[in-house]
Amino acid sequence: MNQKLIIDIAKSLLLARWRQTLVAAVGVTFSIMMFIALLGFMTGLNDLLDGLILNRTAHVRIFKEVKPNPFQPADNQNEIGYNFVNSIKPSGNGLSLDNTAAILSALKNDSRVLGVSPKVTAQVFYNVGNVDVTGVINGIDVEAESKLFHFKDYVLDGNYLDLKNVPNSIILGKAAAEKMLANIGDVVQVTTPKGDRQMLKVVGFFQSGLQELDKVQSYCSLSTTQKLLGKPVNYITDMSVKLLDLTLAPKVAKEYSALFDTDTEDIQTANSQFETGSSVRSIISYAVGITLLIVAGFGIYNILNMMIYEKMDTIAILKATGFSGRDVKLIFTTIATSIGLFGGMFGLLFGFLLSSVIDQIPFNTAALPTIKTYPINYNIKYYVIGIIFSLITTYLAGLFPAQKASKIDPVDIIRGK
């Protein structure tokens, strides 16, 4: 009964001054709207920038570095002490990983692994007339690369699956294709360092957004590349592993390095700068959003303070007729939080609408052929934070004036007349 009465009185006081109430609520609405739109936009951009790196980078890369054997024959002769050997050269079968079939099946059985994409890298020359242009062909498992590393998002023209379906096909880097004046359906000739020539049919163009990379990089299927190099089907130079949990990467990388006796690199080591950037960007967006809410909080504080001066008589008479200081305080905190609640809810709505508008603004970037408009993150988390924060700020803004109102001495007011 008491609660209902207090809400009823709060409502009447609010509606009696609906213009003032509206101004206060609009302040909250505006801040929450900006908070939602800003955070959605900032984190959308953040995710996009993170995606630039995360989408395309293996969580753990397994490869073989060209390096001298740490164990030299001299060590067999003289096991105790130090052997000084000059002019050591790298040895072994170059870049190929050993025992690739066993590694692949071991990775597939690892529950932490989302998927593996094997890769063969080949240095080539593109033959354009009588000029040779250096290039790199990545032999990929088209489906795995698409599923794990969004390969298809970066293929501009043509169907990425043709790479697998059309024998001896190639997807050229956009800039390389322009240099060669190659169109889809044309045949380009490449030469391997060992002198073997191969004719490859162009089935698409690839754009990574990095001009330098697009000048040299092209993609072929795994088998085409192996054939080009004259290597057997177990010739794999790289394995890109995607994990279920990104944070495990350093540990897993270390483990695989020991297990498969090869070199590994984890994403954190490869891209240490990206985490710093993304956390700083989130801090900035939260700081701006919270500043907006605090400003709105001061607005509410002012309006409630004014309302209390105006409503001195009401407060005095409520107290004289049996309302306690606590009741009066409740009335005013109810006023404040209901401004926060309604203002906040409209703020969420308008924030969502503003986000949707931003989402429609065209945004074309060479780096991301699939992105056509500004990215927005519609995570429900920001909406929950927004409404909770609006309730807390308005409650706190109302608390001090309410405390003041609860301490008003009715005798002073009534006798002052």
Binding site: I9, S12, A16, A320, T321, G322, S324, G325, I414
Partner: protein, 226 residues
């Protein structure tokens, strides 16, 4: 001998700002149930101060106050609010109606706060009080649409809503013309004779006071006659 409703024992009060000035000195008196008492005295003699102490709103005093033989002095703010709500009805010089609510709601508010009856019963009771005061036709108007005399009658209806043991008035007729003063006095008279309502009215108006059962005259913070 009739029952004592309000009793004070050696109440003293001083204002301390800027220098200590005693306002009330050794006030000891009692009011019985059903009495129609008026307090008169010159401005500044402390009669209003005394009323606000009796009303439990002013707690800054020395001495003891009893209502229904219950010691009120030293009770917590919330308990005092409850006592005011349940046992005391107020009528002030200025009507103090809440402009945000209509007349009926103004009368009902202290009743809803008490929470003794259902909302519907409170509404019926409020209408009943408005009928006693002859303003039931104004029930759905807003206070600012009423005349001064009507407003004061609404304030009396509000004071009556919880069937208080005592109605206290601080110059309830001070702002009214002769005709409305007469009406208000008649209402008080009717309440005391018909409903045996206890009334304690502070007034300037000697004529008004002369028609009450008992006059308490104050001068310089002391009670002169009983």
């Amino acid at each position: 001998m009739s029952e004592k409703l309000i009793e004070t024992k050696m109440i003293n009060k001083s204002f301390h700002d800027p220098i200590t000035i005693p306002i009330l000195k050794d006030i000891s008196f009692s009011i019985d149930k059903g009495e129609f008492v008026s307090i008169i005295g010159k401005s500044g003699c402390g009669k209003s101060t005394l009323l606000y102490i009796l009303s439990t709103m002013d707690t800054d005093y020395e001495g003891e106050l009893y209502i229904n033989n219950q010691l009120i002095t030293g009770l917590k703010e919330r308990e005092l609010a409850r006592i005011r709500n349940e046992k005391i009805g107020f009528v002030f010089q200025f009507h103090y109606l809440l402009n945000e609510f209509n007349v009926l709601k103004n009368v009902m508010l202290p009743g809803i706060k008490l929470g003794k009856y259902s909302l519907k019963e409170i509404k019926d009771r409020a209408t009943e009080k408005l009928i006693i005061l002859g303003i039931e036709d104004q029930a759905l108007k807003m206070p600012n649409q009423l005349s001064g005399g009507q407003k004061q009658r609404v304030a009396i209806a509000r004071a009556l809503i919880n069937d208080p043991q005592i109605i206290m008035g601080d110059e309830p007729t001070g702002n009214l013309d002769i005709k409305n003063t007469e009406i208000v006095f008649d209402i008080f008279q009717e309440l005391t004779t018909k409903f045996n309502q206890t009334l304690l009215i502070v007034t300037h108006d000697i004529e008004f006071a002369n028609r009450t059962n008992r006059i308490i005259e104050m001068e310089d913070g002391r009670i002169l006659t009983k």
